[in-house]
Amino acid sequence: MAARSALSGWLHRAADSDVWWSFKSSPMTVAAAVATFLIVAVAFLSPVLAPHTPFDPATLSLTDGLKPPAMLSADGDWAFPLGTDDQGRDILSSIMYGTRLSLVVGLASVVVAMTLGITLGLLSGYLGGAVDALIMRVADVQLTFPAILVALLIDGIVRGIISVKRHDEIAIYVIVGAIGLSFWVQYARTVRGSVMVEKNKEYVQAARVIGLSPLLIMVRHVLPNVTGPVLVIATINLGLAIITEATLSFLGVGLPSTEPSLGTLIRLGNEVLQSGDWWITVFPGVTLAALVLAVNLLGDWLRDALNPKLR
């Protein structure tokens, strides 16, 4: 009940709020939202929309290999508008599937980081004392390592434990876990900060006077009031997670090349860049840049719009 009313309350205020207004009056933000929506929609509809199924070896033919983009070169074939790679895979379709994969990894790792970060942040902020000190020291230590390094480390450990073949199967989980683990600190810190502010507010004390348990107070009262900043970090982190995955794949420790994400596509393309087949790497690169830019713009706007107002 409380959760529902909190949600509907948020929606009610969102529709009626200055946030929606500031959204509408910022063309840049609207453009970013439209671009994000288009990329996401096309990516998730790729099985329907994509002209080819690039990962099905049966549909590939080496004779189609290394065709330049049809729209730019007379040598091209309009069946492959953005060209093909050395295996004869359609770049456009690869990008669509790859974006889907990147988005899944990005979203999943943001969810992992968020869950972990919010939980630890709530505990840390609400309980304080030794729990807080412990969690925050761990966070401090982790912050001194770049996210990539943490992810590399985790991936390395997993690789050490299991065989290479099995690794390909569970690679996606490893990478989601690794990225998730490397991003939780930001959420935890933000949530902890908000919780420390909120828990001393009198409405929380009123709930304590009624005798509600700390868990209920955290979930019902404190959590809804820290969603704003968390949402903002999430949008910014989505872009970061996708880039991290791309970097990891680029370094060859990410997803297997049989199922390329945007990052893998860029890496594979990079290997043949010397021979002048630039399209294999440039188009996925542009897509990645566009996606990250759009999501970041959304996040930036959200931060500015949410900060002083929705109170």
């Binding site: 409380a2 009313s5 309350g9 948020w10 009198e202 004390q205 006077v209 009031n225 109170r311």
Partner: protein
């Protein structure tokens, strides 16, 4: 006014609450700093009879809010007992008994902006205690109760659908009061309920509190630093200084025949609305820190009547004129009682 003989509704005895505000252990060891303890409440006895309004006054930081929080159980006491209707609040109670006790005492907070969850509708805010204590049979009953409560604080049932930010400060404070009344309490602790409001809204809230008290036989522990408000609303008044009660007296007596030197100084700070030309004299000297309170009577550095005994020996509460005073000068009879009169405003 309490007769002193009957059973007291709320009985606070030897109540203490210390806060450890030391630096973290490591810092303390490295910089060789001692532990620092704030003696926020340092041995207080209060008895409140059913249906009366007992007020606590005193300068900022003297521990008024800490007493309020101790009473409703937001902090555990360092020492001392709080008895509510014959039940020791710190005693062993089953969960159900404890909930039953909690239901009977509620608190109204100072800041009408911070005391309501901004993400909840007013209906849910008021319904929360009813739900938490399982007081309503079904949805329709809950609906009816909340609507009744809204009407009691002179809002309308339609206001239940709104969010706190849609209300003015005074209206929010009404929502706060409605929430406090929702569990049908008998005892309300009010920590500066009108300090954040302007005078016209303050009058509305105080009148409402008086009406509710008469209607439901409520008992109030009322905290304020506005002496005129305290004068208006209370049956008895306790004056606090640095965590201790220095004087307790029936309202009229406290204002017309103040005894403790600190009470007299405090009354001198009341702004003169009538422009009679009465000089307002600020209390001399800075408030000492509760971390290292002065020895003996903690008021002695600022007291014009202090002698050597005051510096050494903590004065005991002395019963006089239906109240108590803790002061050596009064006990020794070297400080005559002073009569004061006030001209009514217009």
């Amino acid at each position: 006014m309490p007769d002193g003989s009957g059973t007291q509704f709320v009985r606070i005895a030897g109540l203490k609450r210390y806060f450890d505000v030391s630096a973290p252990w490591l810092v303390r060891m490295i910089e060789r700093r001692p532990r620092q303890i704030v003696q926020a409440v340092d041995g207080i006895d209060i008895e409140i009879a059913k249906g009366e309004t007992f007020s606590l006054v005193g300068e900022s930081g003297c521990g008024k809010s800490t007493v309020a929080r101790l009473v409703v159980g937001l902090y555990p006491p360092t020492a001392g007992t709080i008895e509510f209707d014959g039940n020791d609040m710190a005693g062993r109670h089953s969960r159900a008994d404890m909930a039953a006790l909690r239901r009977r005492m509620q608190m109204i907070f100072q800041d009408p902006y911070a005391s309501l969850n901004p993400r909840w509708r007013v209906f849910d805010i008021i319904a929360e205690p009813i739900r938490a204590f399982g007081l309503s049979k079904d949805k329709a009953d809950l609906q009816k109760r909340v609507e009744d409560l809204l009407r009691q604080v002179r809002l309308t049932p339609a206001d239940g659908r709104k969010f706190p930010h849609e209300f003015s400060g005074g209206q929010r404070q009404r929502v706060s009061i409605a929430r406090a009344l929702a569990s049908q309490p008998e005892f309300l602790v009010c920590d500066e309920p009108t300090s954040a409001l302007d005078v016209s809204v303050q009058a509305q809230i105080l009148n409402l509190m008086v009406d509710l008290q008469r209607r439901f036989g409520l008992t109030y522990l009322f905290i304020s630093h506005n002496l005129a408000v305290v004068y208006h609303i209370s049956t008895r008044v306790g004056v606090m200084y640095l965590g201790r009660l220095v004087e307790v007296a029936p309202t009229e007596t406290l204002f017309t025949r103040p005894k403790h030197p600190y009470t007299r100084m405090l009354l001198d700070t009341i702004p003169d609305l009538d422009m009679t030309g009465r000089q307002r004299s600020p209390v001399a000297g800075e408030v000492p820190s509760p971390i290292n309170p002065p020895s003996g009577c903690t008021f002695h550095p600022r007291c014009p009547f202090a002698n050597d005994r005051c510096k050494a020996e903590r004065p005991k509460a002395l019963s006089i004129e239906g109240g108590t005073v803790a002061c050596h000068a009064i006990e020794e009879g070297r400080l005559p009682v002073e009569e004061r009169t006030y001209v009514a405003n217009s």
